[in-house]
Symmetry: C2
Subunit: 549 residues, 2 copies
């Protein structure tokens, strides 16, 4: 145990905040994640900066809002020169290491402008969102040119799972009684067992790779943040035995939805409900097939984390490692007549967040539940603080959560922000919404959730009187709602107007500007007497001494 | 003469739009610049994106608003990875070459993050705002660590002007009858002749260097944009003989100001008026000393441009070179009780802009005066268009002016925008304004000029009824003014809310997202039948064919 612990930052993908027993799920028992919460702080109001993988992760890895880093949707490259957690850590001699998914797309145009050699170490880091890739695996999607073959595919082949696409044919398909492969891309196949033994599944593999990394890091000796980034429970929804058969209809929580929601007059909300994935998840038989698989994937993840945490205990690494557990966004699963994510109801935009700090300073907060309004962009500065780095307020927009972990300070944030571009979507096409305006932003103060929909009226929920978000107050005439909407709109515009790109205002730069200003920038002085009166220094003496240093 | 001319982009520094005879100055005759206007288009409503050197130039060289590139004040480095005109030109095999001033500060922190070698070609370009530096000279300021010694200093020493600081002792000082040097940093010395023959002055030297470049470029053969960037008539205000003695009190135009302006209730405007440089230029004896020198510097510039244009004619280069003439901002010279620049009255934020295109397509617009609302960020895309490059709307926020030059299209822009950070200034200190809020933005629609002052009421001018901007309507109760302010505020917020950092949305990236969206991203399909109905393709056939390409 030292003063400077390392950080294991675990991220699940598409994990709803409420599908863990410590967050209240009645049937899905996740004792290992619950145990982490018992030795750390569990946050009940943690919001992602975009309810979709790519931009949410780019915010996580930069500590900056989507508006700031500009990677507004999946596959929108993170621009070269956008500073990442990895950049900050390396500056201080520490490592930011990736084991798993980032959803990063490299900025080929920007790298070409800078003349960065695609074979160089710089290129690798820039292409991996600042991480040193120990293991990169974004999953293999037929529609994605990002990743054609992963180390996990090699692993499968080496273990006898021979195929042109072992990721799909084994890890993400089931088999019918005749031995025919049934793809988990189709929801009807979700309840089958994945065509792979659990110990060779993606979740198990990635857990093993984290152990490999930490073993190597022990020898290396440099401080580190390891981002262990699981692909599951993200679709394709399929899980190996025995997890495929652990949950049935009796374990499925009722959908959060009302008939009244379908009568919405809001064109964008209606367009969402009409999108294929939402129509699909609005059908009970889809939920009945998919939710048991989704729960199985989470249960499997919990068991693997149990194995990982035990290994960390046994190897002595746990005592010097802060563990962060979170997700990049949630999953509607048919709630509010919606599927997948991409909007701002709690199950999409709120994520589980647990941070367990082994240091003595955190002894008084073990098992504490914090309802502080926190954001995904807070994790990067919290990691930086743990490793002893200076804060960088000119770059990092998130806030260090250490005061909550150590119980030293009340943490107060007025608003959480989340953003989404839907220019690529069915909604944009059906509404004929131009690219520049296919944009929504959520601002949430812990009670009121206001969603600005460019070109349409806003959506408003009052989570105090309507915690299930069934009543949209965005068109309500009640004076209170009118006033709240005006206040939230104004706060959103304040935030939007702020500097988001002035990332070169380092202490050094500002000090230089201050010196220049205080010396009067040498303009407007009539004569030496005036100069002396204003500055207290004779004019002549300044000339040589004031020369550039 | 080819279809693809090169571009000579001439920029003066701190040149007011109205101190040229073609823009109406009654006593300052600038026949060479006027002749350029006679063979091109002269713009009467050209606005810079910031009324101060650094940010204005960073906007010019990137084609992007200050809000977008983030370099909000002098010495605030332009972030690594912010794409410049030079980057776009190089992509197409053309050159962007610097001869003179850029006011660029390199982003040392960002370059270190990327691991860019300070000795590399990449570093040189990133440090020079994307330009290939043929000649870099920002002037030698005692308070600036940017530049200690320039090639111009070498030149002076080589020509017998021996000193530790030849820039200051010869080019920017006068001499009293006893032979003592009198610095032009002090305004009382402005009417002296600079201690240097005209042919060795900065303006003459830089003109020669442009000729050197164009001579070399003829042999090189690659297409180019040459940024010939003069330091003058920027302070220190002093000019060599005979220009120091060409103008006297009888040539000084009366100041644009009213006693009523001094009674303003606007705290920020009052703080400006109280700043030293403004108090200084509000004194008649300062104006009487400085304006003749300022006029002399402009007259000298005009004569040098005459020499340059003649050389271009004689060498045949003129026929294949578009000439752009502009400035990075103006100079109050005591108007509105203000000195220097840094605010948004016409003499500070409006600049001269003349573009002469030798191509036959421009024959019908020679001598045309355009009152189109244009911005400094339009020059970069106009250069790109001239050199045959594709537009890059995902990066470039300015607009190609070629349709005006060729008379093919009515150009319509609703608003011009300009921004300023004053966190470093006397105003910020006297108002105790925190850094984040020491920010102003102008939005101007050609008639109404609305200036949003964070933390204070706005300033509003009606240029139709009050072209001299003597009456601030920012607090007027008149319904028309209330409505205009609401409209301008709303337009400003629309602009601020837009994507400014999403610069990686290339055609290729968007096409990939569109393909992914159209193939349905493979989520939400229950079975093969549903997939077939939705996409027209059998599910199985997609799997192998849909693989990443």
């Amino acid at each position: 145990m030292t003063d400077r612990p390392n950080v294991l930052w675990i991220m699940a993908d598409q994990l709803r905040f409420d599908y863990l027993s410590c967050y209240g799920h009645p049937h899905l028992h996740t004792p290992h994640i619950d145990a982490l919460a018992a030795r750390g702080v569990r946050f009940t109001n943690a919001y992602v900066q975009s309810p979709v993988c790519g931009p949410s992760r780019m915010s996580a890895y930069t500590g900056r809002y989507v508006r700031s880093h500009g990677s507004t949707w999946n596959g929108m490259p993170l621009r070269v020169g956008e500073p990442t957690l990895g950049d900050h850590l390396r500056e201080a001699g520490a490592r930011a290491v990736l084991v798993g998914k980032t959803h990063m797309t490299a900025d080929a145009e920007g790298m070409a402008w800078l003349g960065i050699d695609p074979a160089s170490e710089i290129d690798v880091r820039v292409s991996e969102c600042g991480f040193e890739p120990f293991e990169r695996d974004d999953g293999l999607h037929p529609d994605s040119p990002r990743q054609q073959w992963s180390a996990y595919d090699d692993y499968l082949v080496a273990h006898g799972f021979q195929s042109d696409n072992p990721w799909e044919d084994f890890a993400n398909s089931g088999v019918d009684p005749d031995g025919e492969l049934l793809s988990a891309w189709l929801l009807k196949n979700s309840r089958l067992a994945a065509n792979i033994p659990e110990e060779h599944s993606e979740t198990a593999y990635m857990t093993n790779r984290a152990i490999d990394f930490m073993t190597e890091a022990q020898e290396d000796g440099r401080p580190w943040v390891c981002h262990l980034s699981y692909i599951k429970p993200h679709w394709p929804y399929i899980v190996p035995a025995p997890y495929h058969d652990m949950y049935g209809p009796e374990h499925i929580v009722d959908p959060v939805r009302s008939e009244a929601e379908r009568d919405t007059d809001h064109p964008l909300v209606r367009a969402y409900q009409d999108a294929r994935v939402c129509r699909s998840f609005s059908r009970d038989h889809v939920r009945d097939h998919v939710i048991p698989a989704y729960m199985g994937l989470i249960k499997q993840l919990d068991d693997n984390l149990g194995r990982l945490f035990k290994w960390m205990d046994d190897s002595g690494i746990a005592g010097n490692t802060i563990v962060v557990f979170t997700s990049d966004h949630g999953d509607y699963m048919g709630d509010h007549w919606m599927g997948d994510k991409d909007f701002y109801h709690e199950m999409a935009v709120k994520v589980p967040l647990i941070i367990a700090d082994p240091r003595a300073e955190a002894n008084d907060t073990r098992g504490v539940v914090s309802d502080a309004l926190v954001e995904m962009i807070d994790i990067a500065p919290t990691c930086m603080s743990a490793l002893g780095l200076d804060p960088k307020p000119h770059v990092i927009e998130g806030r260090d959560l250490t005061p909550i972990l150590h119980g030293t300070e009340v943490f107060s944030r007025r608003y959480a922000i989340s953003e989404h571009d839907y220019h690529w979507s069915e909604m944009a096409r059906s509404l004929n919404q131009p690219q520049e305006h296919a944009h929504t932003v959520m601002i949430h103060d812990g009670r009121w959730k206001f969603i600005r929909c460019e070109g349409f009226r806003p959506v408003l929920f009052d989570l105090e009187t309507d915690p299930q978000e069934l009543t949209d107050l965005g068109a309500s005439d009640a004076p209170e709602h009118v006033a709240v909407r005006a206040r939230m709109e104004s706060a959103l515009l304040d935030w939007a107007r702020r500097h988001h790109t002035r990332i070169t205002a380092t202490h050094e730069v500002l000090a230089r500007q201050k010196r220049a200003a205080e010396s009067g920038i040498l303009i407007g002085f009539w004569d030496g007497k005036e100069y002396l009166e204003a500055t207290g220094k004779p004019f002549d003496s300044l000339m040589p001494q004031g020369r550039p240093d």
